[in-house]
Subunit: 106 residues, 2 copies
């Protein structure tokens, strides 16, 4: 569940959104986009949770990988549909992970 | 709901976690920590969602603000209790937001 990312530095795309009412094909497309993202060069992992607010953090090797994914044809169609139908609003933040640490209960 | 952060650069602390069973005072402490974080110098905003996985992203002006918050006395006690009781595992990623953009349905 928690993404197993390599040693920093790497990049995190923090995608925060609020949804419109109803599904309108969102769940299927969301699953498909994760399946597709996982196949992209430079993809390192993804984490997602939604309550009122949805947060998806995807991790990438570098900015080039992020840019390639942004302009992937099928993803571009999904992004357009997102603006037309699925999202009330969203914010995308591109960030460079400089340090990380973790805890696991023994 | 989506944090209103200033123009980049700023910092994002991505805190991803899985919980143990039961509340054990977690919800009250979580609310208290957000209330307290909001009062810290350099705090810019916070976003949270939990399903199986919990994701909390807090935004900060600089690394010094993040470090001060990490070592805040009351937060340190909460962090210790988190490791003892509330979390099965967690990962903290400190990242520098370099670029952001947003969408709002008109």
């Amino acid at each position: 569940m928690i993404a197993r990312t390599p040693e920093p530095p790497y990049y995190a795309v923090i995608f925060t959104s609020t949804r419109t009412e109803g599904d309108h094909g969102y769940a299927a497309m969301s699953d498909r986009m994760i399946e597709l993202a996982e196949k992209q060069p430079g993809f390192l992992g993804v984490e997602h949770a939604r309550e009122d607010l949805g947060i998806t953090v995807s991790y990438w090797k570098d900015l080039e990988s992020i840019n390639n994914w942004k302009h992937h044809a099928e993803h571009s169609i999904a992004r357009q549909k997102g603006r037309q139908e699925w999202y009330k609003d969203y914010k995308v933040r591109i960030s460079r992970v400089e340090r990380d640490y973790e805890f696991k209960k023994s």
